[in-house]
Amino acid sequence: MTRAKEDQQLIKGCLQNKRKAQNELFHKYAGYLLGIAKRYAEDEHKAKDIFLCSFERIFKNLAKYNDRKGSFKSWIRTITVHEGLNHLRNKNNYSFAELSGIDMVDEQIDLIKELDAQTILDVIHGINEPYRTIFNLVLDGYKHSEIARQFDITVGTSRSYFYRSKKMIIQQLKSINIVSSHEER
């Protein structure tokens, strides 16, 4: 059975509020969603909150899922990201300053070591807000126009923050000898 068909079966069971189907769906995607929740949360406790709220919303809004508009995995990711943003919005009052003097020079990156997910997550956690959230949102497929709408900023500001966050990430990766770079002029 393909993943999509398996998901459809589970969703059907969940729509009938069958506990077994809910349990299976939860365990199938729990690891994935907890990973997303951890990227948006500042600590484990918050990540757990985001994770649980996301699942609650997923189960309660399952009837609205339309498989013709995308995979189930991407739908639940969107919900988790929204939940993460809600948590951040409740806690932080972001102030986005217009950034100037951004070095838009393209860099050539060389991978020294194999990348692993845990290292990446640690690096992402190492950068400050709101850079981290904007980096995460771009990573999760949001366009700068959407990010700008979310935070009521200009598209340019969103881009600037993203470039700076990207630079911070590369700096961090350089510092732990995972990548090296040289400028391309």
Partner: protein, 448 residues
């Protein structure tokens, strides 16, 4: 390697990354907040209905049956030698104006030591000698509860010979007061007394002194109905209520729904006029309505150049797209409903039987076929376009019926009904519709 390529690698890596944690604990935390499976309402409803019907049957068994069973119960008595029976019969207001107290010292020839089943033959052996040592105290005003006519009577298993005064208990419950020993009545007799049935002694000749249900009193009974109604249905609010997140509310500028309904019901009528019942009905309705609206659909499309398709999912960006659609379409639909109907009502008996009832309905299934036509009359889609089943839904209503009696407990009459219902159907846009229908028709009833 370019920076964007590095980002894509990070994105891919994180998309496949799964965190480890004690998910059982998290599941236990989440579980109470999840929607629970509801018990099948049909089953619950059926159990309640049959429970009520069963209770009604038990409490309102026709009098004759009770007496027959009571007569049997009297054949089990516990008798001891030298029993002193003090039978006290209090008068009831309408039959006897006085009060009599009768004390009998009985000598029992036969001496059973335990419960003794007595048939007719053995009962005759239990004759009581009352002439020698019986003392009778009588205080009587008016027509007697104690008569000195020559006849034989039985009090329980005791046969009292011709010189014994006739004892007719006329209170709702004939109290048997023990003095030294007692007669045991079995559970059924006591139950019958508790619900108000008087112990009526066999061979009681005087009908004026008889107690229990009057001959005119209605007896509990079953009846079966078959009916047909023409129905007129329309949307109460004139529009569908959107429950989906897609689009805006739709305005139906024209609604019309006509049809007919067949129904068959089994009802149980209690002696006090109330009745309960269940049945099955089928509705066929035809509907024409026009949607003339501007709707906006919000769609997400993954067509960002950075999007990477992995397995069935998308990693990358979605683009929000809002499409505005002008709708001006006529819908022609045919609906076929199967419904379980329950009835809770009251019937006024007279020359005409008039009944009013509340009738909750449970929509078992609704199928509809339809086609769309443009305002110019051109069919744009036909056939099984909408062939589907809606969600199961409840509805509530009521009816007023008048029946004319025919021969052999057959009745024929007219019926007016009203029903309000909510139902959900899904086609492109999920709509929660609120409708009502009025029905007028005929029905045939047979009382059992």
């Amino acid at each position: 390697m370019k920076k964007d390529k590095l980002l894509r690698e990070i994105s891919l890596l994180l998309a496949q990354h799964e965190e480890n944690a004690d998910f059982e604990v998290l599941w236990d935390e989440l579980k109470p907040h999840l929607p629970k499976k509801r018990k099948n309402p049909t089953l619950v409803w059926a159990i309640i209905a049959f429970g009520i019907a069963g209770l009604g049957l038990y409490l309102f068994i026709p009098k004759e049956n009770i007496l027959r069973r009571m007569d049997k119960s009297f054949s089990y008595t516990r008798l001891h030698s030298n029993d002193n029976l003090n039978i006290q019969a209090s008068s009831s207001a309408h039959t006897i104006s006085g009060q009599a107290t009768l004390s009998l010292s009985t000598q029992i020839l036969h001496k059973p030591s335990s419960y003794l089943p007595l048939d007719k033959k053995s009962r005759q052996q239990h004759s009581l000698k009352t002439s020698g040592n019986s003392s009778l105290t009588q205080r009587q005003n008016g027509s007697g509860i104690i008569s000195h006519k020559k006849h034989q009577r039985r009090v329980g298993t005791h046969q009292i010979t011709k010189k014994t005064p006739k004892i007719i208990p006329t209170t709702p419950i004939a109290r048997i007061k023990k003095k030294t020993k007692y007669i045991l009545l079995d559970g059924l007799t006591i139950a019958a007394q508790m619900v108000g049935y008087t112990i009526m002694l066999p061979n009681q000749k005087n009908p004026n002194l008889a107690v229990g249900p009057s001959p005119n009193r209605r007896l509990p009974h079953w009846s079966f109905n078959v009916g047909m109604q023409f129905i007129y249905q329309h949307y109460i609010q004139g529009k569908n209520h959107q429950i989906s997140h897609y689009g805006e509310q739709l305005n139906n500028t024209l609604t019309r729904q006509n049809g007919y309904m067949w129904s068959s019901d089994a009802l149980f009528h209690f002696s006090n006029g109330f009745f309960v019942g269940m049945g099955l009905s089928t509705l066929q309705t035809w509907e024409t309505f026009r949607i003339n609206n501007m709707i906006s659909l919000e769609e997400r499309e993954a067509f960002n150049p950075e999007a990477i398709q992995v397995q069935a999912g998308y990693i990358g960006a979605y683009q929000q797209q809002r499409t505005y659609l002008k709708q001006d379409i006529l819908h022609n639909n045919t609906y076929q409903n199967w419904e379980i109907t329950s009835h809770f009502g009251y019937r006024f008996d007279g020359n005409l039987h008039t009944e009013i009832a509340i009738t909750p309905r449970f929509i078992l299934s609704q199928q509809y076929r339809g086609f769309l036509i443009t305002p110019e009359g051109r069919a744009i889609q036909t056939g099984d376009l909408f062939l589907q089943q809606t969600y199961k839904k409840w509805s509530i209503g009521g009816h007023l019926a008048i029946s004319f009696p025919l021969k052999n407990r057959w009745f024929v009459g007219g019926i007016l009904s009203y029903n309000k219902r909510y139902y959900l159907h899904e086609h492109i846009i999920r709509n929660l519709n609120s409708t009502q229908f009025f029905g007028v028709g005929v029905h045939v009833r047979r009382d059992l």
